[in-house]
């Protein structure tokens, strides 16, 4: 039940055409790689993985 702001710290996506905007974007070749990468990044960044259901995961740091 965080009351502070939440921040997107990384995006892991199956889409290859996405250019990085304000956050780092990590393209993945397939779902297995995406899941693996998201898990590693979330552990590093202490973030939560959220599924946007369009092939992209966002890793969000909740405070």
């Amino acid at each position: 039940m965080s009351r502070g702001e939440s921040r997107i710290v990384a995006v892991v996506t199956l889409r290859q055409d996405v250019r990085a905007g304000g956050v780092p974007v990590f393209p993945a070749a397939d779902e297995a790689e995406r899941d693996q990468m998201a898990r590693l990044l979330a552990k590093l960044l202490r973030g939560t993985i959220h599924d946007l259901r369009n092939g992209s995961y966002v890793i969000v740091r909740h405070h």
Binding site: D35, A38, R39, A42, R46, I49, H50, D51, R53
Partner: protein, 310 residues
């Protein structure tokens, strides 16, 4: 010398009251030896202050009674100290207590010292009244009054619990795509399939159904819900670490019905234990709402406003 029995009995009764209150609510604070020492010592001082007031007045020393005012300042300090130490520990808790719970605990600690003082005062007063009958009578009457006061304090200070204001039931948890859903309420987006798997295989969920509109308003307080999450995680344990924030238990309210739902991956996977743990969470004084008492609510709505029958 004739005032020794009432004072001694008052101090004893007051310290006993503090001990009883310390034992009653072990969950309000870690009951480590240090905690016991600190609070029993403070309780002893409070009892002494309360116990000397009646003899002081009886012997015409009115200035001594003003020490009670000094005590009040002292105990406000106790509250500040409790709050501060709990706030400092907050960052080390996997599931934080939340500001409302900390405030509630701090308030309880202050109040308990006053109760200790009042108990000692009552015992001592009875003793002073009985002084003309001799020291043994004085001691006996003071101790009897002290025991009655301790019993009263015990009864008075047991506040409400979630089980008193709501019906708690275990419910299955499910996923709607990545959304962890309990009783129709979407709690959070769990992205990783492996994490969803862990929730499904090892998780439990409850629905907390408020009994009336007052209870509903109380449960809508975010601090009260955080207290529930903290207590449940503490009593049942929780299968997570700091780098797995998706397993942080969150209690969400269904805005349509007022029901609060929560999912958790506990170490002790027992539905009955989970229900009991939730029912045993104290209703925090600072979160109690009584909108129905305003008289604005028609009786039918006040009773079960939008809440499905249990």
């Amino acid at each position: 010398m004739e005032m020794v029995p009432p004072v001694a009995a008052g101090v004893a009764a007051g310290t006993l009251a503090r001990l009883v209150l310390l034992r009653r609510d072990y969950r309000q604070f870690p009951s480590y030896p240090q905690g016991y020492t600190i609070h029993l010592s403070l309780g002893f001082i409070a009892a002494a202050l309360g116990a000397i007031a009646p003899p002081a007045i009886a012997t015409g020393d009115l200035a001594a009674a003003s020490f009670l005012a000094l005590a009040a300042t002292q105990f406000r300090e106790v509250r500040a100290v409790e709050r501060e130490s709990l706030v400092n520990m907050e960052a080390t808790e996997l599931v934080p207590r939340g500001a409302a719970y900390i405030e509630g605990i701090a308030r309880v600690f202050e109040a308990r010292n006053y109760l200790t003082m009042v108990t000692a005062l009552a015992a001592s007063l009875a003793g002073v009244i009985a002084v003309p009958w001799g020291p043994w009578w004085s001691l006996g009457v003071a101790l009897a009054a002290g025991l009655v006061a301790v019993a009263l304090v015990r009864g008075l200070m047991s506040g409400q619990r979630i089980g008193d204001i709501a019906v708690v039931k275990p419910v299955p948890l499910e996923f709607d795509g990545p959304l962890l859903t309990v009783a129709g309420v979407q709690i959070m987006n769990v992205g990783l399939p492996a994490s969803r798997e862990r929730y499904l295989n090892e998780g439990l969920a409850v629905v907390i159904r408020p009994k009336d509109a007052n209870a509903r308003a109380t449960l809508s307080n975010v601090g009260q819900r955080q207290a529930i999450a903290h207590e449940v995680a503490m009593l049942l344990g929780i299968k997570m670490d700091v780098d797995e924030p998706e397993f942080t238990p969150i209690a969400r309210q269904n805005p349509a019905t007022g029901e609060v739902v929560m999912a958790i991956v506990p170490l002790l996977r027992d539905e009955r234990a989970l229900v009991q743990a939730v029912e045993y969470v104290p209703v925090l004084e600072g979160t109690v709402r009584k909108p129905v008492a305003s008289g604005l609510w028609p009786p039918d709505l006040a009773k079960l406003e939008g809440v499905r029958e249990a």
